[in-house]
């Protein structure tokens, strides 16, 4: 589903955010991307949805080489990818319904289809009773669930999450993880960037570790030591 070959991203001559990264993620996999702050996790995810372009190397998503993809094709690529952020990135002036519907409207879906799917998606994350609230009226965990609903409402092939539980307490983080696991069980490939070791100890999956922009480790769940479960 995701293939990276010798990907390098350089912002300045003397330092690279990613160095010669080669990695494959299969369809339906769940992968944690870990590493200290500044290791290159966010840059890695941003390159997958074309917010950044690699300086060198090739990136293939679902068989399509996106390295030199034209600007007008980027929106169509992004429709295959749901993205969740640590700071939620919701529109605070819009209702929960409008925030989620927005992703479908952007794809030109019909109104009846939009309302049906938005309701289903919000029900999935347990917020169907908060349709008309604005994000600021919700707790942090609820806001993140809205962001996840927005990412999942388009039935993405890939779900990218950048520190999705970074601002949330342990119990809420567990609820959020349950949603990612459920999406993954339905066949969505999930890449979750985190520096929280306890997350992948509690929910063991493949762990890719970045260090100074280089691939420092790639471990399957059975290779991880002392899992909680």
């Amino acid at each position: 589903m995701i293939q990276l070959y010798n990907v390098t991203k350089t912002y300045r001559k003397d330092s690279s955010a990613l160095k010669d990264l080669t990695l494959q993620v299969g369809k339906g996999e769940f992968v944690y991307v870990t590493g200290a702050s500044g290791a290159g996790k966010t840059t890695f995810l941003r390159m997958l949805y074309c917010a950044e372009r690699p300086t060198r190397g090739q990136i293939l998503i679902d068989g399509q080489n996106i390295t030199r993809i034209g600007r007008h094709k980027i929106p169509y690529l992004r429709r295959k990818i749901g993205v969740v952020f640590q700071d939620f990135k919701l529109l605070n002036s819009r209702t929960v319904y409008e925030n989620v519907a927005f992703a479908l409207e952007a794809q030109g879906k019909k109104r009846y289809e939009v309302s049906k799917k938005v309701y289903q998606s919000l029900k999935e994350v347990g917020l169907e009773h908060r349709l008309q609230r604005t994000p600021l009226e919700l707790s942090g965990g609820e806001q993140q669930r809205v962001a996840i609903a927005r990412a999942l409402v388009v039935d993405p092939l890939i779900l990218l999450a950048d520190e999705p539980s970074g601002n949330l307490d342990r119990n809420v983080a567990a609820e959020i993880m349950a949603l990612f696991k459920r999406a993954n069980a339905r066949g969505t490939t999930v890449l979750l960037a985190t520096h929280d070791h306890s997350l992948y100890r509690r929910f063991p999956r493949r762990v890719v570790t970045l260090e100074d922009g280089c691939l420092a480790g790639d471990h399957r769940p059975d290779e991880l030591q002392s899992p909680v479960f």
């Binding site: 929106p75 529109l91 819009r94 952007a106």
Partner: protein, 298 residues
Amino acid sequence: MLDRFRYFMLRALRNMRQWPFLCSASVLTMAVALATVATFFLVVLNVQQMATRWSEDLQVVVYLDQAPSAQQLSSLLREIRGFPEVAEVDHISQQEAMSRFRLRLGEEADLLDGVTADVLPASLEISLASQYRNRAGVARVVERLAERVAADGIRFGQEWLERFDAFVGLLRIVSLVLGGFLLFAALFIVSNTIKLTLYARRDELEIMALVGATSRFIKIPFLLEGAFQGLVGGLLSLAFLSLVFKFFLVQVMRSFWLTPAGIDLTFLDVNQQLMLVAAGVLLGIFGSLASLRKLVQL
């Protein structure tokens, strides 16, 4: 297609409702900028009309050496009327010149008692066609007359004409420079205001791009919003302009030597009014487009 347009319209209206302060700031900036440029245009328009009216008084007067015979006069008049620059020719006989002189002297007309009309020359008063009421037009008529007519003198107010020409030239340069400067300042202020209002909503633009909205999908509602704000700004500037015209401009211009009594100042005609509103719409669209190009980067 219609469904799509309806969606864009609704989104544009909803955006304006959700951001009333930003929307009002754009509308007011456009209204003030347009009203400033339009007020300047209105003043220039009226001053130019005044200048045109003054130029209507421009005449070439030919003083004849000798009073011509009736036959000579009619052939001379026919010939002069044939000049392309000439609109009308009046023959002022010696008697007529004398009675005009008497009239001008008013109560002191007694001074002319005992003076015969022979002392005054007969003359031809030549009015020019509107497109030749300038220095070049007058020079051509004078040249033609000098070849055909035996005249004591040809008078055409050379000094006045030079001053008038200089005034019209200056007016044109000042209107162009000042008008261009005002227009540029208006465009600069409007485009920056729109940029600031859009900058305040950059999160929205970013999220739209993130969920796979195409550049067109992101931009169209903002352009519609810009067009609508431009329309309202244009209408407001028109209303403001008519108030300024009625209660300020007319009084100010009347108080100057620019407007002789009995001459009405002109307001913008219907086409010019429509152009002002259309300029508002275009300003809104292009101002938004320029800002969006920088802010919407997929």
